[in-house]
Symmetry: C2
Subunit: 462 residues, 2 copies
C-alpha cells in the first residue's frame, strides 16, 4: 500500500488518509470535500525526492498544493491521487539586506516573508489578496501577479535561484543569489508558471526591494478612452520608475460602488472611464510635489475630474472603490469572471464590443464590470449571468473577443482545469504540442498534476 | 545537393557557397576563415521554416548567426554545416509609444532599433559595445547583458512576445505585446539564452522604456570593501529606481588606466577599490541635488575620495577609465578573460583568493584586473598570462574559486564552445542532463548548433 511506503519516508504522522482529508474543502473557493487517496507532508527536499521517486516508479499521480488559493481548480485531485503539501517546509533564511535577497522554502506563506523583509526595510516584489495563505511555492508555480506587477514584474521576475524536484525524484538545485547567469538553459523559467505539472518547487532565492516610504494616490475621470494610455506614458516618464499602480475602471463598477449609501465618490459619477493610480517613492515632499504637478497636467490633457488622496485613510477609501466586491456579489447572483491581457491599444474596442455582445447574447444579464491593472495590459471582467448554465456563453463571448485581438485568456490566474478547454484561443496547436512534448520528457509517467493546463498527449481524459 | 534545394527556397542569390564564405572571418574576434558548406539567407519566417524542415529531414546541421559578436565561439561551424543568417529579416515595426513596445525581426541591428526608439523619446532596455553589429535575434539567443542590466534587466526581461522556428520547421508564433500572460508554459523563456540550440528566433516584441533626460555620474575610492555593498543599498533606496550603473574596479586596473600620460585620475590612485556609479532620471535639477547629497553621505559612510562629473565631457572621461582596454592589451600580450557572477557577499574574498592563486600558480604573469557590473553580481576578470599555454591554468583557478562560491562561470557572455567543458563548475550533472533532454525533444536530429553549451547525449564529439 502506497500510504505505508510514503509513511516510511516522512513518518506516519505526516501521511493523512482519505478520511482525514475529506473533511477539508478542495480549496478556498469551493466547499466540496477533498477527494484523494491521501496527503503527504515532507519536511525536506530529500523527502520530496524520495516521494516522487516512489510515485514515479509506481505510476502514482501526485497533486502538489500550496495555500490552495488558486482560482483555476489547479489543485483538484481524483480519488486515486496523492496530495503533496510542503507546509512543513517553510523556513525563511537570513536576509541579505544590502544586496537584497533571501532564500526561502516553498511552503513559507507570503505574508510571513513580507513581514520578515519589512523588518529590514525591504519588500517582496509580490503582493496579492491571498497573502495570508498563499505559499511561495504555489505563487511561483502559478507565476502569480497581483498589485505590484507594474513596478516589480510578476512572480517570475522575483526569482534569482530555484530548487526543483523532477517527477522521477531528480533534484535540480540552482539556488543562486545573483541576477545574471548565462550558464546554459535557464531551467528555472520552465518551472515557474507551469502549475505543478513539470516539477515540485522546493526552495527559491528571491529578490527583495527597498521599501518605499512615501505614497501618492489619485483618482481621475475621463469622458473618452484616448487620453488614458497617454496619461500612462506621461506618468511612466514623469514618475521615473516610482509609478506602482495604474488601474482603469469602466463606469458601471465605479457607479455601483459609489451609489448612495455605499462608498464616497472621490470624482464625478457617471463618466465612462476612471483611473486609479499610485506612486511610491523615498522622498515624501518632492514626490508629492511632482505627483501633484503631473495630475494637474493630466487634467489639462483630458481628464474631466481628479482627486489626490490627502491622507492614508483617503488613500484606503480610494482603493476600496476598486477592491470592494460586496455590491457586485449582491448584484450578480451567478457570475462569470475573467482575467485577460490585451494590448492597451485594443482595450477600448474590447470593452465596447464586450458590452454589445453581452447585451445581445446574454439577455437578462445583471451587468458587466470591467476594470484592471491597465499598466500591465491586464483586465478583469465580471458578468452577471442570467443563470448558471449560461457560463459557457459568457466564456465564448470573452475568449473570442480576446482571441481576435491576440490577447491572453489568462493574464495572471493561470489555466488549471477551469480554462483548459479554452487554451487554444491564446496558444496555437503547435505551442500546446510543444508544451506537451516538454511535459512528456520531464514527466514521462505523467504523474505531476496531470490534465492541468492541457490534456496530456495519449493520456486518458482526466 | 542541399545548396540547390536551399536555393529553391530562398532564391539562388541568397545561398552562398563554400568559396564565397571562406573569405570571411569566423567572427569579430577571430581572423580564421569561416568553414561551412554554405550560408543561406531567408527573407521570411516561412522561408526559415522551409529551410529547417528540409535540414531536419536530411539531418543537416544548421548554425545560426547574428552579428557574430559573441565571445564564446557560439557560431563556429564545421565544414559540413550550413550557416543561417537572418540579415534580410531586419524590419522594425511601428512603435507603440504610450504603451512602450515594438515588433522587430530578428536580423535587425540593435543600434538601428535604438535610433528608431530614440526618435520617440524611448529607449531599448539593452545596450552594449557591439550595438552597431549585434542583431536582436543574436542578443536574445545569448540573453545578452551589457551596461543597462541593473536598471532594465537582461535581454530576457525586454521580451514581451517571441516567434521561434523549431528544428523541424514548426513555427511557434506568440508575438504578444503585454507583460502578463499565464496561458500555459512560457515557452519563449526556453529559447532566450539557449544560444541557437533549441530554435531559431525570427521575430520579437520588445519593451521600450522612457528615455531619461538627466544623468549624474560619480567616481568613489575606498580603503575597504565593506562599505561598498552598503553604498549600493543606500543608492538603490535613495535614487528610487533611477540608479542605472554601479561598477566596481579593483586597484590595478584603475591605477593602470590613470598612469601618468594616460587618463586623468578623478579620485586618488593607489586605493584598493573604486566605484563608478550613475543615475539617469527625468528631473535634471532635483536629480542632481539628490545625487550630490547621497554622494556626500557616501563619503561619511566610508568612501575616502569622491568626484561627481560636472559635464558630459567629464562623464565620458569617467567611463573611459572603466572601458578603455588599450593599456591592458599592451600589458597583457596573452590574456585569460572571464565573465562571472557571484553574490556580493563573496566578491571581496574572491578578489583576494584570486590574486593569491594567480601569484602562486601563474609565476611570471603580467597582472590581474578585476572589475565589473557589481550591481548585477557580475565581475569581469582579466589575467595577463605568462604564455598562451597557461590559459587552462587560469581557467581552473577562476572557475574553481567561482564554483566554491556557487557562482556562475558565465554571467552574460554565454557558454558556446569556449566554456563548454567548464559548465559543470556551475551546473550539476542533473541540470545538464535536463538541458540535454529538452534539447533532444525539441531538436531530435540534433541539427541546431549542436555541441554548443554541452555535448549532446549520444552524439559524436563536435
Amino acid at each position: 500500500m502506497i500510504l505505508d511506503d510514503l509513511a516510511a519516508i516522512v513518518g506516519a504522522g505526516h501521511v493523512l488518509g482519505r478520511e482525514q482529508i475529506e473533511t477539508r474543502a478542495i480549496d478556498f473557493w469551493s466547499s466540496d470535500a477533498t477527494r484523494a487517496l491521501g496527503l503527504v507532508r515532507p519536511a525536506s527536499t530529500a523527502e520530496v525526492s524520495a516521494i516522487l521517486a516512489l510515485c514515479h516508479a509506481r505510476g502514482q499521480v501526485v497533486i502538489p498544493e500550496g495555500g490552495r488559493t488558486n482560482l483555476v481548480r489547479g489543485t483538484e485531485a481524483e480519488p486515486d491521487h496523492i496530495l503533496l503539501s510542503l507546509e512543513r517546509m517553510s523556513r525563511i533564511g537570513e536576509i541579505a539586506a544590502d544586496s537584497g535577497w533571501v532564500e526561502v522554502e516553498a511552503g513559507a506563506v507570503l505574508q510571513r516573508l513580507q513581514d520578515h523583509a519589512a523588518g529590514q526595510e525591504l519588500r517582496v516584489g509580490l503582493d496579492l489578496g491571498a497573502r495570508g495563505s498563499a505559499t511561495i511555492g504555489g505563487l511561483l508555480a502559478m507565476n502569480a501577479g497581483g498589485v505590484q506587477v507594474m513596478r516589480y514584474g510578476s512572480a517570475r521576475a522575483q526569482v534569482l535561484g530555484l530548487e526543483v524536484v523532477l517527477a522521477d525524484g531528480t533534484v535540480l538545485e540552482h539556488l543562486t543569489p545573483y541576477a545574471k547567469d548565462n550558464t546554459g538553459y535557464d531551467l528555472k523559467q520552465l518551472f515557474i508558471g507551469s502549475e505543478g505539472t513539470l516539477g515540485i518547487i522546493t526552495r527559491a532565492v528571491l529578490r527583495l526591494h527597498p521599501q518605499p516610504i512615501s505614497v501618492q494616490t489619485a483618482f481621475l475621470a475621463f469622458e473618452e478612452f484616448g487620453p488614458i494610455p497617454k496619461l500612462l506614458g506621461t506618468l511612466s516618464r514623469g514618475l521615473a520608475g516610482t509609478l506602482s499602480s495604474f488601474e482603469v475602471i469602466w463606469r458601471d463598477f465605479y457607479d455601483l460602488n459609489t451609489e448612495e449609501g455605499r462608498l464616497r465618490a472621490p470624482v464625478r459619477r457617471g463618466l465612462p472611464y476612471y483611473v486609479l493610480c499610485e506612486a511610491e517613492g523615498f522622498e515624501p515632499e518632492a514626490d508629492a510635489a511632482r505627483f501633484e504637478r503631473l495630475i494637474v497636467e493630466a487634467m489639462e490633457a483630458g481628464a474631466v475630474d481628479a482627486a489626490i488622496a490627502q491622507s492614508v485613510a483617503q488613500r484606503d477609501a480610494f482603493w476600496r472603490i476598486r477592491e470592494d466586491f460586496e455590491a457586485e456579489m449582491a448584484l450578480f447572483s451567478e457570475m462569470g469572471d475573467f482575467d485577460v491581457s490585451l494590448a492597451l491599444e485594443d482595450m477600448e474596442s474590447f470593452g465596447r464590443d464586450l458590452a454589445r455582445a453581452v447585451d445581445e447574447q446574454l439577455p437578462g444579464h445583471s451587468g458587466l464590470h470591467v476594470f484592471g491593472h491597465m499598466g500591465d495590459g491586464n483586465l478583469h471582467v465580471a458578468i452577471g449571468l442570467p443563470s448558471k448554465d449560461k457560463k459557457p456563453i459568457a466564456e465564448r463571448i470573452v475568449y473570442d473577443l480576446v482571441a481576435a485581438r491576440r490577447g491572453a485568456i489568462s493574464a495572471e490566474h493561470g489555466i488549471g482545469l477551469s480554462k483548459r478547454d479554452w487554451l487554444g484561443r491564446s496558444r496555437s496547436q503547435a505551442e500546446i504540442a510543444a508544451m506537451a512534448a516538454i511535459k512528456s520528457v520531464l514527466d514521462p509517467q505523467n504523474i505531476l498534476n496531470p490534465g492541468k493546463i492541457f490534456r496530456a498527449a495519449g493520456s486518458a481524459p482526466v
